[in-house]
């Protein structure tokens, strides 16, 4: 029975991927393509967050700032040093990974909500720093100029290339997650998530593995940030607000923290909702979608029996429903 579910799940994934590849052939409304790109974006950052959050059990509320670092650094590499974003995104990713690891390392002795607090502090500090820093444009941020060479500068007049790049990055980050999940590193992460003291007792250097999880998670988040910068072409310090970190986490919470696919499902559910609200309410009621997100978050915590870690074992309602359909348990 296990084999059957395994084959079926992978089959579903491949079919799903095939469909996504083909979507632009049938739909050419730019706004719909935009929504898909945003779905991919939030999916990828949420999966990246989940490496530190769901897999290693350290819930960071500062990921918006890591995403923004990626966006800022890759943009500046383009503007100041003329480095193509295809390379720049990886440089900015690693840079963010290193910086975050250094500053969060002392905070690894903190557990649970205290660690989250430290990440909030980091994000807020960074945001205030960038808001008053000339070199990064202060509160105005950075506007990426328009270049002629579309491919070198990853700037396209059509949304299609962004669609496929976004999809590719999403698949890449997803694959990294799956690989980690089954690897020795993954076992270390999961053990320290489940019980830090027990993990320590069986030989796991918890600080070192928290560092590894942080580094990988932040690097991938920042790469996604670079992609964001290329697509939106505007970066500002307010991207680092805590509420955007919540926006990154919510797909994982809704879809299943600790599962590989959960954040992606969550993104498919939440992103169209928030895009709709953005369009329907317009700039008249800015922040409306965040109110909805806040209510969803509070609702899940208040009414779901195990709150946000409810689906840690990988048995979320979607998976159980799908498995039932496939004739499983």
């Amino acid at each position: 029975m296990n084999m059957r579910v395994y084959v079926n799940k992978n089959l579903l994934l491949i079919i799903g991927f095939g469909c996504l590849m083909g979507v632009p052939l049938f739909i050419d409304a730019p706004y719909v393509i935009h929504v898909f790109i945003m779905i991919f974006f939030f999916g990828m950052v949420s999966v990246a967050w989940n490496i530190l959050g769901g897999l290693a059990g350290q819930y960071s509320l500062g990921h918006a700032s890591f995403m923004a670092i990626g966006a800022y650094v890759s943009s500046m590499l383009v503007i100041q040093l003329d480095i193509t974003p295809w390379i720049g995104m990886w440089i900015s990713g690693l840079f963010a990974g290193v910086v975050a690891s250094c500053f969060l390392y002392p905070c690894f002795i903190l557990r649970g909500p205290y660690f989250s607090l430290a990440t909030i502090a980091f994000g807020e500090t960074l945001r205030n720093l960038f808001t008053s820093w000339d070199a990064v444009g202060k509160a105005q941020g950075i506007l990426l100029p328009i270049y002629q060479d579309a491919w070198y500068y990853m700037q396209f007049s059509s949304k299609l290339p962004y669609y496929y790049i976004g999809l590719a990055l999403l698949v890449l980050i997803y694959v990294v997650f799956i690989y980690l999940d089954q690897s020795k590193l993954g076992y270390a992460f999961k053990s320290l998530r489940e019980d830090e003291d027990a993990a320590n007792a069986i030989g796991i250097n918890t600080a070192r593995y928290k560092l590894a999880a942080t580094f990988i998670s932040v690097t991938l988040t920042a790469v996604a940030g670079a992609f964001y910068a290329q697509y939106v072409r505007y970066v500002e310090p307010d991207l680092m607000l805590v509420q955007y970190s919540v926006e990154i986490i919510l797909p994982a919470i809704v879809g299943g923290v600790g599962t590989a696919f959960g954040p992606i499902i969550g993104s498919f559910i939440l992103t169209p909702l928030s895009e709709y609200l953005r369009v329907a309410m317009g700039s008249k009621v800015a922040g409306a979608h965040l109110i909805v997100y806040a209510l969803i978050l509070m609702g899940i915590i208040r009414f779901s029996p195990s709150g946000i870690v409810g689906w840690l074992g990988g048995k979320n309602i979607f998976r159980t429903a799908i498995m039932k359909k496939l004739g499983g348990r």
């Binding site: 089954q182 690897s183 020795k184 076992y187 270390a188 999961k190 053990s191 489940e194 019980d195 003291d197 027990a198 993990a199 320590n200 007792a201 069986i202 030989g203 796991i204 250097n205 918890t206 600790g258 840690l312 074992g313």
Partner: protein
């Protein structure tokens, strides 16, 4: 192979351990007993590295490990179970033990080699039939077995067992005793905290008695069981006992 040297532990003015010293012989099963609150688990925590002693040293395999983290002691061969059990709840039984194998002294680098070792251990501890069950769904006896199995996964030379019999019925207790004997016969030194006297006397060559954080007796089972002070500490003074 384990030497506890004048260990004291203070918590903000409360002296939980006071100048405790003893040695553990390799290859034997030693018992650590004492009334509730005597400081037994605190002593375990100092030995395994969860706490640093206020004064004193812990020497393991002739190495001063007093300042080492628990995971470092694990790689030297020290493993422990916890009084309040700590399974990795949302991971399956087999994953729990695989984790032990990967990071302990077998140092398995691949999933495959860990699995192989793990299956051996699951066989040994009679957990094979529950290998894919999530740890949080196990019954008490199986959870205890899991704690043992996971500790064994780290390939220890010294196994610290903290009240591993608590919550077990008679049959389960007997099975546990058999298991501990088997483990010891495989060459692993055991130091166990226990309240069930029958078990302690049955299993242990040497017994150490703790009371109010101090060692009040140490020696062979008979000696210790007939020691006046030990009897007094457990059963109260003769007059009081008569009145009760």
């Amino acid at each position: 192979m384990l030497q506890v040297d004048q260990v004291s532990k203070e918590f903000r003015g409360l002296r939980a351990l006071n100048n405790v010293s003893f040695g553990i012989e390799a290859g034997k099963i030693t018992g650590l007993i004492g009334p509730n609150g005597a400081g037994k688990t605190t002593l375990f925590n100092v030995i395994s590295g969860v706490f640093r002693p206020t004064t004193g040293k812990v020497i393991f395999h002739n190495q001063d490990v007093t300042l080492l983290q628990p995971y470092e002691r694990c790689s030297l061969g020290m493993a422990r179970t916890f009084q309040i059990m700590k399974p990795l709840p949302y991971m399956s039984v087999i994953d729990n033990v695989i984790a032990g194998c990967m990071f302990g002294r077998y140092n398995c680098s691949s999933l495959a080699s860990s699995r192989a070792k793990t299956l051996e251990i699951l066989e040994f501890t009679a957990l094979m039939h529950r290998k894919d069950v999530l740890a949080k769904e196990l019954g008490t006896a199986d959870k205890k077995r899991l704690e043992l199995a996971r500790a064994l996964g780290t390939n220890p030379s010294l196994l610290l067992l903290d009240e591993v019999m608590s919550g077990l019925n008679n049959t389960e207790s007997d099975e546990c005793v058999q298991l501990i004997r088997k483990i010891n016969q495989n060459g692993i030194t055991v130091l166990l905290i226990e309240h069930v006297m029958k078990v302690v006397v049955n299993l242990c060559k040497k017994i150490i008695v703790l009371h109010h954080g101090e060692k009040i007796a140490e020696g062979e089972a008979d000696e210790v069981m007939n020691n006046e002070l030990v009897i007094e500490v457990y059963l109260g003074k003769e007059e009081e006992h008569a009145q009760a």
